[in-house]
């Protein structure tokens, strides 16, 4: 069982990212459960999404409080909240930023940190606007590069089916992100 927590801000597509990742994992016939922080979401406020992945049916239906890994969609949250709360030792942390992984040593010891500049990629492919790029598909492209529970092909297929507009650009963004992860 792998349990992951996403950190983003309302309006960035964090919940959709967890849903598209669930689509991708499901294509590989694994069991999956994805859910948002249950509540009322507001644009710009910190939001959470969660995903459980397993080779057998998932019966635990409670919230994830000790995730195996985290994905930080909005790096400004690192200064605003404790993104590593409950995070297990040896966890992998993926951060959407142009900075290098070693700059995030302050998050604590024993974590494997990777970064991906999903904003730059999203802007390049004109996903969302320059001021508010939609970064979720680029983030998802980085996931199969650092985790072994899903393949890039499944992500690309799920992105193509899962985005409401510009599937080609979103797929291209995910593919570019796969190649651009820092820290591998």
């Amino acid at each position: 069982m792998v349990e992951i927590r996403f950190h983003g801000r309302g309006g960035q597509g964090t919940v959709i990212a967890s849903k598209i990742l669930a689509d991708a994992v499901s294509k590989e016939d694994k069991y999956v459960q994805a859910f948002p922080q249950f509540g009322v979401e507001r644009r710009g406020a910190p939001v959470f999404a969660f995903i459980r992945i397993d080779g057998q049916p998932i019966y635990n239906r409670s919230k994830i409080i000790a995730p195996d890994h985290i994905i930080v969609v909005d790096p400004s949250l690192i200064d605003a909240i404790d993104v590593t709360e409950g995070l297990k030792k040896g966890a992998t942390i993926l951060i959407n930023t142009g900075r290098k992984p070693k700059e995030f040593k302050g998050l604590g010891r024993g974590f494997r940190i990777f970064t991906i500049d999903a904003n730059e990629i999203a802007v390049k492919y004109k996903l969302g606007s320059k001021a508010a790029p939609i970064v979720n598909t680029a983030i998802l492209g980085a996931v199969p590069r650092i985790f072994d529970f899903v393949k890039l092909e499944s992500i690309l297929e799920a992105v193509r089916d899962g985005v409401p507009v510009n599937p080609d650009d979103n797929v291209a963004a995910a593919r570019e992100a796969y190649e651009s992860v820092q820290g591998v």
Partner: protein, 383 residues
């Protein structure tokens, strides 16, 4: 076809595959996406149905009653205050013997204002004459809508599919959407013998004197008894066609268990997970999930609890000044049939999470006690 979907959309797909003919609903969190998707499906003409917009849940049920009286397969969905507003008409739908199916996304009652899950909304409607099915997965939600129409139209009683807010309604998981052709074979079109017909006028529900009122009531009661027979029959039939089985109660490792948990909804799913963990440590614990609350499966409950040395009932609801509501039902089923002490725990009200650890702590507490020292125990509550 397999598809990752939220529980709310599983309801919409269930209703679409059941070829419902009239949908009338009023949006309320956490039910909203149920009718959002259905309205899209109807607008896209993928389902030939009337979507009737209304100004309240009371009117939504009134529209369903009208449609069903005219022989249409009618559907609605709601939550919490919306269900409470329907209350009068829930009695009417059942008394008029209309096989309406509705989904209730369990949301706690206000005040204080809340959108999160517990069962007090649906359990407040326990005695209205509606069947109630408490689900634990999105697949079960979709399948239950289809099965509910089959049973409801056989016995002419309405049915409520109940699912936890957020833990199912907004949780995405893989659901196998059955082929329409298979569903059509399993669920024939609704052919209502008593439908309103201008060419053959009848009046229903008129003033009934004490000479005859009870005769209507015994027929309703017998129809509910028959519903239990049909639910069991359909569990087998459904499995034959779709490969998935839903019995009124679902035992898990109860046979040799010293302590048997009794649970419902998603708490039952998490309890199963907790049982696996406790079994790995050699603890003889089991779980009995109650899926069907009305009609109440007395015999099955007695059968699966007969070997239990202790019974721990977890209620995500409360009857103020009494006990948890599932506990009342289970205790009455066991009266005169079992000497096992029954412990009642109130947990997870207003969406508070029920973790595997919550359940393991309950089992540890029960293990320590010979018999209950209190009538009920409030779990993880601040004082």
């Amino acid at each position: 076809m397999k598809k990752v979907m939220m529980g709310n959309h599983a309801i919409s797909y269930g209703a679409t595959l059941s070829r419902v003919q009239v949908i009338s609903a009023y949006p309320i969190t956490p039910q909203t996406q149920v009718v959002e998707l259905l309205s899209e499906i109807v607008a896209d003409q993928k389902l030939k149905a009337e979507f009737i917009k209304v100004e309240s849940e009371h009117s939504a049920m009134a529209a369903c009653i009208g449609a069903s009286s005219a022989g249409a397969r009618a559907f609605t969905a709601t939550s919490a205050q919306g269900l409470a507003l329907m209350h009068e008409l829930l009695h009417w739908a059942a008394g008029a013997r209309l096989p309406i199916v509705m989904a209730d996304v369990n949301r706690a009652m206000a005040p204080p204002w809340t959108i999160w899950t517990d069962q007090n909304d649906s359990l407040s409607q326990r005695d209205t004459g509606w069947m109630q099915f408490y689900c634990q997965s999105n697949q079960e939600v979709l399948d239950s809508v289809i099965m509910a129409y089959k049973v409801a139209e056989k016995v002419l009683m309405p049915a409520m599919i109940v699912l936890d807010a957020f833990s199912l309604s907004h949780t995405y998981e893989t659901v196998d959407i059955p082929d329409q052709a298979l569903v059509d074979r399993y669920l024939p079109p609704f052919d209502f013998k008593y439908k309103l017909d201008v060419n053959d006028p009848h009046t229903y529900g008129g003033l009934t004197t004490p000479d005859w009122y009870m005769e209507f009531r015994i027929k309703m009661h017998e129809a509910m008894d028959q519903a239990l027979v049909e639910i069991k029959k359909e569990a087998v039939e459904f499995e034959k066609v779709f490969g998935r089985r839903y019995d009124p109660v679902e035992p898990y490792m109860t046979e040799d268990a010293d302590i048997v948990l009794v649970t419902s909804g998603t708490a039952a799913s998490t309890a199963r997970f907790a049982v696996d963990q406790m079994r790995r440590k050699g603890k003889r614990v089991g779980n009995l999930r109650v899926r069907t609350l009305r009609p109440f499966p007395f015999a099955d409950i007695r059968e699966h609890l007969k070997n239990a040395k202790k019974i721990a009932i977890i209620d995500r609801n409360i009857s103020y000044g009494y006990h948890g509501i599932f506990a009342q039902e289970i205790k009455s089923a066991l009266y005169g049939h079992s000497k096992a002490p029954v412990f009642n725990f109130i947990a997870g009200l207003g969406g508070r999470d029920i973790f595997p650890e919550t359940i393991m702590n309950i089992v540890a507490d029960v293990k320590k006690m010979k018999k209950p020292e209190q009538d009920l125990y409030w779990v993880e509550v601040k004082r």
